[in-house]
Each structure stands twice: as structure tokens, then as C-alpha cells.
Symmetry: C2
Subunit: 125 residues, 2 copies
DNA sequence: GGGGCTACTTACACAAAGGAAAGCGGTTAC
DNA sequence: GTAACCGCTTTCCTTTGTGTAAGTAGCCCC
């Protein structure tokens, strides 16, 4: 129930700092659109209206905000070309590829979890 | 800007299903307390009031809700011992250990990201 | 000069997440 | 009997995230 007060827990400090990092990571990729946007732009660079068209359901307000957010975190870069009218292209940076293994883990775990939950619902009924 | 319509994107379908799984995983571990609770109970099984004491800041309403959630997802088990008064112990299940590598990835990425952002703020100023 | 396009911004609204405080049913301690 | 503890639940409120609709600045076309 409780380890004694004096015996430090196995790796409590390491654990809380690792928790802090994990929560930071979550806060960066969290939200309905962020991962989708990153993946979308990793497939190819696109303009605002093209992204809006591909991500059916996102409003321009949210898209603008999310793009700003992603740019701040260095996942994407905003290029302005002085054509008339001006062309603005959003491009995934190399840094967005640093998410690859994280997304891989998330996806692998998420996939097996869905299976597990489906299984346990079947067994329950 | 846009790949031609007929040439299918590198792995678009795989990508959207992987996105779906990743979002599922996020929805399960998402929230201010879930990961902390899992890690807390992985260190040792505990009673409601002990958890509440260890996680300073969580309200009983939220704690009860989160514990229910985690139990539904099979991360923890609720044991009732018929002592007087009844003792209730929450214990991390083996399944919660399946999160280990995911938490590891999150934490590793989060740690390096914080460094990177700090760096880029320094360079900017 | 009216309408349309692009890349947004602004104002408003709503729903979900989370927190504060009180209560509750059962028990033990005094 | 009354006070306290445990494991919650209930009520109310604030904050955060997201959505809808409209507007705007700059340019083009006719």
C-alpha cells in the first residue's frame, strides 16, 4: 500500500521528470488537427486553401491558428512567394520527421489497444 | 504544391489509418492526470486517499472519474477488501506496462523538444 | 465599380474538461 | 451524540478547445 517514508521509491525522481517531458510532448501534438496537418504537409507542401480542402471539416480560423502553432514549434515553414496574388506555401520541415518514431509508437499502441478493447467487449457480452 | 491526381500519394491510406490509431492512443492517455496516475500506481498500489494525497492538486471528483476511466481501459484494477471499514486498493495491471515504450518515446521526444525550443529562443533574442 | 479570389482575422457561441465546495452513507473513536 | 475518516457523488462554475459566420486587405477581371 505504501512504501515506508524513508525508503525512496525505485526511481521516483526519474519518473516525475520523465512524466513532465511526456506531458510536454503531448501538449505539443495534442488537439484534433495537429498530427493530421503534419502528416498532410509531410506528404507534400501545400497552400492554405489546398490544406483546407484536404482536411475536410477544419475551419479557416482553426487552420490559421494550428498552422501558426506548428510553425512556432518548428514543424512547418511558411513560404511567401511574391506572385500576384501572393502565393503562400506551407512546408513540413525536417524537424517534423523527428516525430516519426513517436507517431509510430502511438499508432502501434493505439492499434493493438483497439483490438484489445473490442476483444474484451466481445467476451463481456 | 500538389501531386497529380492520378498518382497515388506514397502511402496515403496507410498514413490515415496510422493517424486514426495514433489519435485513438492519444485520446486514451490524454488529460492532465492519466499518465501521472498510471505511473503513480505502477510504483505501488494505493488507496483513494493515498493517491489523492500524492497527486497534490487533484480533486476527488476528477480522481474518481479518472480511476473509473483507467479501469475501463484496463490499466488499473480496483480491489475491495471486506475489512471494517472496507478497504479499496487500486493496482496497476500488467497491461499498463504496455505503455512503457510509448511513455519512453513521449518522454524522450518531449525532453529534446524542450531543449530545442529553449535553444531557438536564445538564438532569436 | 461590382464581383471574385486568397489568406486570413474578428466576434460570437457552444461543449467538454477540469476545479471548488458541499454532501452522503457507513464506520470507528471519544 | 458528535466528531472524524473513507470513498466517493453532486452541484456549480471557469477555462479551454473548437465551430460558424461574417468581415477585411489586396489584387484581378470585366
Amino acid at each position: 500500500m505504501r512504501t515506508t517514508i524513508n525508503e525512496p521509491l525505485p526511481d521516483k525522481e526519474e519518473c516525475t521528470s520523465s512524466l513532465k517531458n511526456a506531458l510536454d510532448a503531448l501538449s505539443v501534438i495534442n488537439g484534433r488537427w495537429k498530427l493530421a496537418l503534419i502528416l498532410c504537409l509531410m506528404q507534400s507542401s501545400k497552400r492554405f486553401s489546398e490544406i483546407q480542402h484536404e482536411m475536410t471539416g477544419i475551419s479557416s480560423r482553426i487552420l490559421a491558428k494550428e498552422l501558426k502553432d506548428l510553425e512556432l514549434n518548428d514543424f512547418i515553414k511558411r513560404h511567401v512567394y511574391p506572385t500576384t496574388p501572393v502565393t503562400i506555401i506551407y512546408e513540413a520541415t525536417g524537424y517534423s520527421r523527428s516525430l516519426k518514431s513517436l507517431i509510430g509508437e502511438l499508432s502501434a499502441w493505439g492499434g493493438q489497444h483497439r483490438e484489445k478493447i473490442k476483444e474484451s467487449i466481445r467476451n463481456q457480452s
